[in-house]
């Protein structure tokens, strides 16, 4: 790579703002947002019904808004885990190849900016949209909670809520990066959308079924050695954690259920002195999810780098 002059960030803000504005006004995003909003409100509304019906003494009533599932509706977190990737994919699947197909790429890249600025700007623009969308959802849930439950959230609940917001943001970011990678690799937006959705389906639906199978093959259980059973569970967990959905699920579990003490196997001797069912302080819960969060951020960076490398070498003939 030859030495380059000038800042790779020239034009970054311009691209990011233009992208964000484009998405905010696009019919595609409006549709996805509407879907997310409706399901979210539905889930929270159902949860509130459940919570007020049981009227239990609960220290974390507000967090239950996020996690309570009222049959047949899943909980708000479950919905988000399912729908956030869709939002991110809708934002990112045609980020780069869309420019080629509109034949705007060569016009944009003949301006004095680096390709870095275009790619990063697009990524940031989509992240801005995701952040705004998540913030709106979050405020909506809190607002509904205050209105319908009639209780203000405690400081700890707000803190945990914010941590949840951050986790969701990073989770959506990972899926956005996946979509961006495919949008640089495939020239056709249909192909890249399909490829991204395939990965999404794999991790959302098939991974939970596959990971026990793979673990069974890698670490068979010997009925006479109990440690092999433990190994197997560990292996299965490690494989399951390749999926960002698993990581997100574990993070929300730890953040939104303060009673969660560990995200892995717990042995009885490790629990001596512990008061089962007693909540962990917020700082401890955050410590608990730190590895998951770091993994997701790392995955995001790796994926973004992949998109960057593939884009940097491309010929701009459109």
């Amino acid at each position: 790579m030859p030495q380059r002059e000038g800042s790779p960030f020239t034009g970054l803000a311009t691209v990011a703002l233009k992208e964000a504005a484009d998405h905010m006004t696009s019919a595609r995003i409006h549709l996805v947002m509407l879907l997310v909003l409706l399901t979210a409100v539905g889930a929270v509304y159902a949860a509130i019904g459940q919570i007020t019906a049981t009227v239990s003494e609960d220290q974390f009533l507000f967090l239950r808004l996020f996690t309570t599932a009222q049959e047949p509706l899943p909980s708000f977190v479950a919905f988000l885990g399912f729908l956030l990737p869709l939002v991110a994919i809708a934002l990112g699947f045609d980020a780069i190849n869309g420019e080629y197909n509109r034949r705007t790429m060569s016009r944009i890249l003949s301006q004095p900016i680096y390709r870095d600025a275009l790619l990063t700007g697009k990524f940031l623009g989509c992240l801005i949209v995701i952040a705004i969308c998540l913030l709106v959802l979050w405020l909506l849930v809190i607002g509904l909670g205050i209105l319908l439950v009639g209780l203000p959230p405690s400081a700890e609940e707000i803190l945990r809520g914010l941590a949840f917001l951050l986790a969701s943001f990073v989770y959506a970011g990972v899926w956005l990066a996946v979509a961006m990678v495919f949008s640089t690799i495939f020239r056709s937006p249909a192909t890249s959308a399909l490829a991204t959705l395939t990965v999404w389906l794999l991790f959302t639906i098939f991974w939970p079924m596959l990971s026990p199978l793979i673990a069974g093959a890698i670490a068979p259980v010997d009925p006479f050695d109990p440690m092999t059973a433990v190994d197997r569970v560990e292996v299965e967990r490690a494989i399951a954690r390749i999926s960002p959905n698993t990581l997100f699920g574990e993070m929300t579990l730890a953040i939104l259920n303060p009673e969660t003490r560990s995200l892995g196997l717990v042995f009885a001797n490790q629990l001596s002195q512990a008061v089962i069912g007693a909540p962990l302080p917020a700082s401890q819960s955050l410590m608990l999810i730190w590895p998951q969060l770091a993994c997701m951020i790392a995955a995001l960076l790796v994926l973004f780098t992949a998109a960057y490398v593939s884009f940097q070498r491309q010929e701009i003939r459109a």
Partner: protein
């Protein structure tokens, strides 16, 4: 004169196929330089190499003394580009589209809108400035692309088939505009298939053939190089073999029988009196005789005919 574009032994391969194969090209400041050649002869690829939009396999490119891969920002700041198939954001208006690229090129807001207004006027799109580009015709898009080059106030404008899809009137307007830009001191490199147009405005041209430059020079020089003459005399005469009659005649460089009784004579000056004299002297009856300047079309056709013969041989 100083050189603004220079390539040396430039090669670009796609797999085993060389799209550009050892190109040596120099363009001087203030020139209007035409890239000609059949489809797939490497014109667009050459332009992409000049702009650093694709990496050369080997060889060097210097634009304004800079390497487009090493100093891409500086090069792109000073060079305007009109791609062959130009696209815009259809959901934005003409002005918004231009504003976006103006921002990307680092123009402050007030300066940008002043230049955009002026450029739109110059390509006669002021009336459509607030319309979404999705509603634009092919020619309007082409003109909008040119407006973008104007806004940049580039020192070099590289136009890839700027007239494709334009009606005759717009083509003429575009030519006038290019002429104006050239008089303002902007160096222009353009590729085109409209040879008459190229002949009209280009100072020098390069004829591309399978990734190489077959011929390069002033249009007048090329006509004399390839055809041996700058004038074509068409002679209709009966009862004479013009080829023998004109053998050794001054200024005549070639005689071809196009059909029975119709001859085409290449000459490097107006040889009509001599031809008439010789036809009559040989006992033929002269019916009509017309003269015109050799066009680039003829050079082009002849050049590639010869190439085909060479390739077959």
């Amino acid at each position: 004169m100083n050189t603004v574009i220079e390539t040396r032994n430039l090669v670009k391969r796609y797999g085993r196929h060389a799209a550009v194969d050892g190109l040596d090209l120099t363009v001087e400041k203030g020139e209007v330089f035409g890239l000609l050649g059949p489809n797939g002869s490497g014109k667009t690829t050459t332009i992409l190499l000049l702009l650093g939009l694709t990496e050369p396999t080997s060889g060097t490119v210097r634009v304004l003394g800079l390497d487009p891969l090493r100093n891409p920002l500086e090069v792109k700041r000073r060079v305007g580009y009109l791609p062959d198939q130009i696209g815009f954001y259809d959901n934005l208006t003409a002005r918004e589209n231009l504003l976006y690229t103006a921002r990307l090129s680092g123009l402050p807001g007030a300066e940008a809108s002043a230049r955009i207004g002026y450029a739109l006027e110059r390509v006669r799109l002021s009336h459509a400035a607030e319309r979404r580009v999705g509603t634009f015709s092919r020619g309007m898009r082409q003109r909008l692309g040119l407006a973008e080059v104007l806004i940049k106030r580039a020192e070099i404008a590289i136009l890839d088939e700027p007239t494709s899809g334009l009606d005759p009137q717009s083509t003429q307007e575009l030519l006038d505009l290019i002429g104006e830009l050239s008089r303002e001191g902007i160096t222009i490199v353009l590729s085109s298939h409209l040879l008459t147009m190229v002949q009209e405005i280009c100072g020098r041209v390069a004829l591309f053939n399978r990734g190489r430059i077959g011929l390069m020079g002033k249009v007048a020089d090329l006509t004399s190089d390839v055809l041996g003459g700058t004038h074509v005399v068409e002679v209709e005469a009966d009862g004479v073999d013009l080829r023998t009659a004109l053998a050794g005649a001054p200024h005549v460089t070639g005689v071809v029988e196009q059909r029975s009784g119709l001859w085409r004579v290449d000459a490097d000056a107006d040889a009509r009196p001599e031809i008439a004299r010789r036809v009559v002297a040989a006992g033929g009856s002269l019916r009509t005789m017309s003269i015109r300047q050799t066009t680039l079309d003829e050079v082009y056709v002849r050049f590639f005919e010869e190439e085909k013969v060479h390739a077959a041989a």
